[in-house]
């Protein structure tokens, strides 16, 4: 069976009038999958999601159905579902438009998923810096209660569920699932030691599933249209569709929903090419924490396996594209400053290491230092990677080590020229318009 190049499912109703309302969502068959799920045994819902091959859309790619099956049903504590809507990984911009345009897709997914794991309380932890998304979620929850999709004895099936929209307060680390749970408990958002994993001891030390927005939003379509329908899309081990977010120096940046395995070459073509008169230089496949790739990787299938083999990670499919006007050292320094700012301070390698990285990089960008500083940077990365408490520290090393691998000469050019050889204005969107004066 051949699949179309783009396969709008989650994005399919975004152009509908007032798509965020319950009326618009139900007009297109919304909440049909919920009623179907409630007529199933919870374990059968888990099996369907397992069979679909859905893997976590928040970056790590862990099989969603398997995560659900780890919830110990004989544990006497309440079970919880927590949606990670703390979308903050630089380059990632898919969950926010989804929740803005179609919050009910997520909420229907929350109810089905909570039913499957037998949770009677769910939370959507949304970052606080997206006010209108918070409004749309709050309104959608209100509508869902009124329609009997949430609350007591949902549609007469004897199942109860309450859902709280919880706004965060500005901390990238809260996208890490155990830090998110600490934050949701009213604490500083710092990651926890694992094991125990959240499935065993998560929120309030009770069995908890934490899933990304897009993962949960994919569940209604899987239940409504079948596991086989979902797994017919994508590649052998990376099933289904995903939202690919193109940003940067491309003619038409935006959201492109396609089967996993589409290539960047195809996506750039659909997006009208790299901006006029320029060419691609480097890109991230899945956010700033995934090692950068170059033009030699344009034909890598964008699925978990192939991007891994190419030396990076699929991550959140946050494709940030930079053309030849962009200084890679400046780009990497800025990301490194971000990790330094967002390091939670819990573990030494990350807390201290990110400061050292910024210091070394900032000097190099100004043309201060020697070629030996590149080895120093890589040595610092070695002391963070695999030694930090959570993935933030590992992620901080990705742009540095990958950029030195592909653009060592550009680092050295900063030293020989005594500073950055690039004109930062040339890379701006308004460079051609003369609007910078």
């Amino acid at each position: 069976m051949s699949t179309d190049t783009l396969t709008p499912v989650l994005t399919d109703n975004w152009d509908q009038d007032r798509s965020w309302t319950l009326a618009a969502y139900e007009e297109r068959g919304g909440y049909g999958a919920l009623k179907k799920a409630l007529a199933m045994r919870p374990d059968d819902v888990i099996t369907a999601v397992k069979d679909s091959g859905l893997r976590g859309r928040g970056g790590a790619g862990f099989p969603t159905g398997m995560k659900w099956s780890f919830i110990p049903q004989d544990n006497p504590n309440p079970k919880y579902l927590v949606v990670n809507a703390d979308e903050s990984e630089p380059g990632t911009c898919k969950d926010v438009p989804l929740m803005m345009a179609s919050p009910h897709t997520l909420i229907e997914g929350v109810i089905i998923s909570s039913y499957a794991i037998r949770a009677n309380q769910a939370f959507i932890y949304v970052r606080g810096e997206v006010l209108h998304v918070v409004r749309r979620l709050q309104r959608a929850v209100q509508e869902a209660y009124r329609a009997g999709h949430l609350g007591k004895d949902i549609h007469g099936y004897g199942y109860d569920l309450d859902l709280v929209i919880h706004a965060g307060a500005g901390a990238y680390i809260c996208g890490e699932e155990t830090a998110l749970l600490d934050s949701l408990e009213g604490r500083r958002g710092q990651p926890r030691l694992r094991p125990p994993f959240p499935a065993v001891a998560g929120l309030y030390a009770s069995p908890t599933v934490v899933n990304n927005v897009e993962s949960i939003a994919s569940v209604p379509s899987i239940i409504g249209r079948g596991a086989d329908w979902f797994s017919a899309m994508g590649t052998e081990k990376s099933k289904g569709f995903g939202i690919f977010s193109l940003s940067g120096h491309v003619a038409n940046p935006g959201q492109y929903e396609a089967p996993l395995g589409i290539t960047l070459r195809t996506l750039i073509d659909l997006a009208g090419g790299i901006r006029n008169g320029h060419e691609l230089k480097f890109w991230t496949p899945g956010g700033s924490s995934t090692p950068i790739l170059t033009t030699e990787h344009l034909d890598v299938p964008l699925d978990f396996e192939a991007v891994g083999e190419a030396g990076s990670m699929l991550g959140t499919r946050a494709l940030q594209l930079f053309d030849e006007t962009t200084c890679v050292v400046r780009a990497v320094l800025r990301w490194t400053e971000f990790y330094k700012h967002e390091s939670c301070g819990k573990c030494t390698p990350c807390r201290e290491g990110t400061w050292w990285l910024v210091q070394t990089l900032a000097n190099l960008e100004k043309g201060i230092g020697s070629e030996g500083d590149l080895d120093l940077l890589l040595d610092q990365c070695d002391n963070i990677l695999g030694r930090a408490f959570c993935a933030l520290g590992d992620g901080a090393t990705s742009p540095i080590s990958s950029s030195i691998q592909y653009f060592r000469d550009e680092y050295l050019a900063h030293l020989t020229e005594g500073g950055c050889p690039f004109d930062p204005v040339a890379s701006t969107v308004f460079a051609a318009e003369g609007a910078t004066s």
Partner: protein, 249 residues
């Protein structure tokens, strides 16, 4: 920089009874009250214009934890401000992608135009300028946020016009949302108290729809299935929407 009046409600330093009641209301939303702390601190900001010592004491009192524990949380998160914030918190994304696309130029221009540094407030108390991290709108770069509403595809010129309008009291709309409310009003929504503006603004901005548009032009859809799904043309979907309601029961 100048002092902005801290609050109209905190006479003698204490929180109003109404605010105190709402703080309790937030705590009651959760199976364990302490989970309410983040939204409670948002409400303190809505009421007091910043995180005040009195606000910290009130949260500690309601949750039965120490003021030091509340302070530890309040100082961890960047959205909580210990100094008064202007009516409009203006954020400029200077994470890599936005910075490269023009965010750095915009931020420099605004510092100059408003005569403030990072995280400082204009003399008239209207605007607090801050550079922010990635706000999940990279397809609209360079991005600015006003009171955490999206201002997409900015230029140095549109940025200076924006802050001039805000200072002049001209009504400003988010490019993908409603008219901009004040920072305190926004904080109240984040605390979980609706302002009924959810229905304002579009479903999605243009960049969010660009892939969908390409799919529509080419007639591309997700594969259909026997049970009938949400794929196919708009007309087919409409025809299917009726039976689908009954099919899932």
């Amino acid at each position: 920089m100048t002092q902005v009046s801290t609050s109209s409600t905190s006479e003698g330093g204490g929180l109003s009874d109404a605010t105190y009641g709402e703080l309790r209301e937030i705590a009651a939303r959760y199976p364990q009250a302490r989970s309410g702390l983040l939204p409670m601190l948002h409400l303190v900001q809505a009421s007091e214009g910043r995180i005040t010592p009195e606000g910290i004491e009130a949260c500690a009192d309601i949750l039965g934890i120490t003021a030091a524990e509340v302070s530890g949380v309040a100082t961890f998160y960047t959205m909580y401000k210990r100094r008064p914030v202007g009516d409009y918190h203006v954020g400029v994304c200077t994470n890599t992608l936005c910075a490269v696309m023009g965010g750095d130029v915009i931020f420099e221009r605004l510092k100059e135009h408003l005569d403030v540094g990072n995280d400082e407030t204009t003399d008239d108390g209207a605007i607090t300028l801050e550079h922010v991290e990635c706000n999940a709108a990279c397809d609209y770069a360079p991005v600015m946020m006003v009171n955490w509403e999206f201002m997409d595809n900015m230029t140095p010129q549109s940025a200076t016009e924006l802050v001039d309008d805000l200072r002049a009291g001209t009504e400003v709309h988010s490019t993908r949302g409603p008219r901009i409310v004040t920072w305190r009003e926004a904080e109240r929504v984040l605390a979980g108290f609706s302002d009924d503006l959810a229905d304002e603004g579009p479903s999605a901005g243009p960049a969010s729809l660009v892939g969908l548009g390409v799919a529509r032009e080419n007639g591309w859809t997700a594969p259909g299935n026997d049970a009938g799904g949400r794929t196919g043309s708009a007309a087919e979907r409409k025809a299917e929407s009726e039976p689908k309601q009954e099919e899932g029961q």
